[in-house]
Symmetry: C2
Subunit: 247 residues, 2 copies
């Protein structure tokens, strides 16, 4: 049976805050693939029945619903969109198998290592733990600087993006964090992480990424992220610290 036009239309469940990097990542992919969709804002503190039914395992946002079927986890959603709409516009994943593997490797690294280190700077009150997290974060950006250099093939002009001439998986995997990275640096009273002296290629990439269509309009302002960290995350982390200290 053919799904009706209503059911066929893509739906994206995400928090209404506008600062969720994983939801923004999926929105970037939808834009790159030139797909229209209905955004269904969710209250992250009161999970809807639709969310619980769509992502019973993690109960987390974002969730994409396509022809009535849910897809969860932002990197998996991006790959799904690229697969399911292979004919649309440009490809988000590189077409070369080795480049695909490299993009997948770094995208996971950013989620599993880089960002946890970076936000870990704010999560701890202990000076030596904070220093460790700063060091880990700078080392992670150093590795990505080298990875970006690898994207420019020998004898060719410098690659504009990780994806080459256009935005790819790794661009949106890292790019969705840019306002967060800036906000964390500011709240920690640190010099910018993406510094023209230390990581010149990444710093130039970040400038290009922020200005790039079609993702430009999706990035939240840095002060909106700062406010979210201050008013929502700090109290949450403090409550968790208090709970673990009294266990």
């Amino acid at each position: 049976m053919m799904a009706g036009a209503q059911e066929q239309r893509l739906k994206l469940l995400g928090p209404g805050t506008g600062v969720s990097m994983y939801t923004i990542r999926v929105q970037m992919a939808l834009c790159i693939k030139e797909l229209s969709y209905d955004f269904l804002p969710e209250d992250p503190w009161s999970k809807s029945d639709l969310l619980l039914a769509s992502n019973p395992v993690y109960k987390k946002l974002p969730v994409l619903i396509h022809t009535g079927r849910p897809v969860c986890e932002s990197l998996i959603i991006v790959q799904y969109l690229d697969d399911a709409f292979a004919g649309n516009s440009t490809s988000i994943l590189p077409t070369d198998p080795y480049s695909r593997a490299v993009a997948r490797f770094w995208a996971s690294y950013i989620d599993d290592k880089l960002f946890p280190s970076c936000i870990g700077i704010l999560k701890t009150a202990k000076q030596h733990e904070r220093a460790d997290k700063v060091e880990e974060t700078l080392a992670a950006f150093g590795l990505l600087e080298a990875a970006l250099a690898e994207c420019s093939k020998e004898g060719e002009a410098e690659a504009l993006f990780f994806g080459g001439g256009s935005l790819g998986l790794l661009d949106i995997a890292l790019g969705c964090y840019l306002p967060w990275i800036k906000a964390i640096g500011h709240l920690a009273a640190m010099p910018p992480f993406l510094d023209a002296a230390r990581t010149p290629k990444l710093a130039a990439w970040a400038e290009r990424f922020r200005a790039a269509e079609p993702v430009r309009a999706l990035l939240p302002a840095e002060d909106k992220v700062e406010e979210y960290i201050s008013t929502v995350l700090y109290p949450k982390w403090n409550a968790a610290l208090t709970a673990s200290a009294t266990n």
Copy 2:
């Protein structure tokens, strides 16, 4: 320039112990794709220059080297083999985009949640933590039981494997852990996790998987895994506990 025959040949760096589930997972993929390769055994306690140069980020095994270029992280390696040798034999990932997303979701779930819960049963000496890990593990297998039921399409015969009639990504993602799951249950003096009453489909799947060509010969004996846990992992965990207690 064409790479020489020597350089073209696939190399797999893995521990020589024969019990590494992630190395076995890649070996299963190599077998399914009917690819021959050189196995380069590594000493996990003394990392070779080749390993450090091939996986400078995580310095972990396994690493696949193809035409001189390294690919790291077992699930990424499996997808790489499926991409790079798309013409070989059957496809490991489902061809339907939605089924691919589902397989990727559960494969990550197994690595990120199911196995850490399962081995967590042995890692803790605290009774209530152990009970939590047992509950988490049983809940995770319950979710996979339901996922396996979903693999049998309406009105069709029961699927032999997560991949349908043949072994796919999710089969090898979970199957590589089978001897570990048995060994952990035995060491914890528990009834089998994959029980015909509680998870009948998974229990039957595990029997079929263990007997399936071409992966049958790759699964280590359960007592070899038990011995590895007892003689290698227990002392390592105890040393870590002692270190953290004296910090």
